[in-house]
Symmetry: C2
Subunit: 345 residues, 2 copies
């Protein structure tokens, strides 16, 4: 039997602990795994593109565990009452190849994305950052705010979305968010006075939701919505002006904001900042850009965290996914017709 | 909710219809999909190798459906009471990215591998083939025999395995197999007089379970156990002597028997034989080799067949894998703490 966390169990678990606490507790797990980056067998995710979206598989392994996530991205889904991004994932045992954990990851991805953004901001934003400019108030918004609040110390959020209903939704959650929420009148207004600007929009297009002129010196940019070939959010001039930090360079060159600039534009993999192998922010006036596309390691870490927390508890169900005959070479015994009973003479 | 066929449901389904009938009925599905080969978005599978085995993801899509399989290969597993190969897989809707079907695929893979082998043999073996030499009597053996029996017309099987217990197991299933089963004394003895020789051994090594001298003119070789870099079964001289047919050339060059020969050694993709775009067997004396490594399309087809057959029946369960908030942009509502009730004045 494989441990299984389905949607109801995930909701119960997150509801019980609170999204904010889990986002915060996941950060040290992420930092630990990013610091041992060279130990992982890494590959750019495998994407299948269609005119309306993308479906991706994101595998990764260390010597003990293998993980992968299935995730889609369909910007037109909300207009049909469906979510832009849904996901599920798995951990398996490298020694046997047997799955260990199957889990819904739509909710878990929102947590890990918030934790990853917060982790990067803690290492790259100016100390004392208090104001977040949030451009895009979709599914990720509340999770992003909670991570930036508890991990970085943000207390004010200036939010903007082209869809007023998305801002209304954010306002409805104001009590749960514990920050001063400012309804901005434009993207430029959201960016005004921000220490950190998060862009999390969904259009599969070369969009410019943030121009160079909107960004003051010293800002940390957390660009998480540009994550596909042909899907970006930032002005190319803004990218060129920033110190760029990425998760896994070979993937981000194809999918990130940096697809807009030269293939040899200098970037630093974030793990090197965490290990002290590369500098992060170098001055108060630096614009730092975390060009985040989402990398398989973050999902692996989230699944590892989930299993540590729910394994053996009431939040862990199970599923019979692996056929397991008594004689491992006798798979046929599982489906063979029942034996004819001995006939009496 | 995602339709889910777990191990008990799969066993019930196969038990009710019989493995032989399902293997036979899957063949026209495979032929139909192989004939529309250019419609698929194909990629070599993504493998994660460890010293003891491999874990692979095998994605593929057409304009309507996306499918993938998770599968491992761990030759040392049976010595620990575990299976060499386990698998599960999924179909999803390309238009929305939402999963549609999740299924165990350890049993389903055995069916599809038998169907694929039988389909290839029907197109490549000499008409009237009746004797199968079977080298390797592990998990695949009975399924292979049933496919070759019902699709190709095999009535005699000469079986060999270095593990006598595997041959004992095969003998115990003799009543279910409906063929004359001959216990060979060696690989050469199994190959003696065979019209078709199937090699399905599991060692992750450059093994030579079949030498050139063992193979008579006119034989069709169905080589299914060499399916990893560094894992082959045939004498290189035998490969060079044969007309080689493969599933997806870019994958087979890396994983198949042809990794032993020159990178430009001529091969024919099997789908081209099915569409009439390339010749198959060209003479009675030809040795034809189906250098089969297993390709994602076969799993896609098997999942499509499964869904057609079990959808809406008692063999289809369901699983709550996709978080689905009423407002698609309000994922947070699924995990937010309950609202504080209005306080009375």
């Amino acid at each position: 039997m494989v441990t299984f966390v389905d949607v109801p169990l995930m909701r119960q678990w997150v509801g019980e602990h609170g999204a904010a606490a889990l986002i915060r507790d996941l950060v040290p797990y992420l930092e630990a795994d990013f610091r041992r980056w060279p130990e992982f067998d890494k590959v750019a995710r495998v994407a299948s593109h269609s005119p309306v979206g993308v479906i991706e598989l994101m595998p990764i392994a260390d010597a003990a565990s293998y993980g992968f996530k299935y995730v889609n991205g369909h910007p037109g889904n909300p207009s049909r009452g469906l979510q832009t991004v849904t996901a599920f994932g798995m951990l398996a045992d490298v020694a046997s190849g047997y799955p260990v954990l199957l889990a819904e990851m739509t909710i878990l991805t929102a947590l890990r994305t918030a934790s990853t953004s917060a982790m990067a901001a803690r290492h790259l934003a100016r100390p004392g950052s208090r104001v977040l400019g949030l451009i895009g108030a979709g599914s990720q918004a509340e999770f992003q705010i909670l991570g930036m609040r508890d991990v970085v110390g943000i207390d004010t959020v200036r939010a903007w979305d082209t869809d007023p209903a998305a801002l209304d939704k954010l306002e409805r959650h104001a009590d749960s968010l514990g920050v001063e929420l400012v309804r901005a009148r434009s993207a430029a207004d959201a960016a005004e006075g921000a220490d950190i600007i998060t862009t999390c929009t969904a259009d599969k297009a070369y969009a410019t939701v943030l121009t160079d002129a909107m960004v003051a010196p010293g800002v940390h940019l957390n660009a998480i919505g540009g994550d596909c070939p042909g899907k970006t959010e930032l002005d190319a001039a803004l990218v060129r002006r920033s110190s760029v930090f990425v998760e896994y360079e070979p993937q981000t060159r194809v999918e990130g904001e940096i697809q807009q600039v030269a293939a040899d534009h200098p970037v630093t993999e974030l793990w090197r900042v965490l290990t002290g192998g590369a500098p992060g922010r170098e001055s108060e006036a630096d614009v730092t850009l975390f060009d985040s596309v989402g990398f398989a390691l973050e999902d692996f870490t989230a699944l590892r965290f989930l299993l540590d927390r729910v394994g053996g508890t009431a939040h862990a169900g199970s599923v019979d996914l692996i056929a397991d005959p008594a004689d491992p070479k006798d798979l046929f015994s599982l489906v063979a017709a029942p034996r004819v009973a001995w006939r009496l003479a």
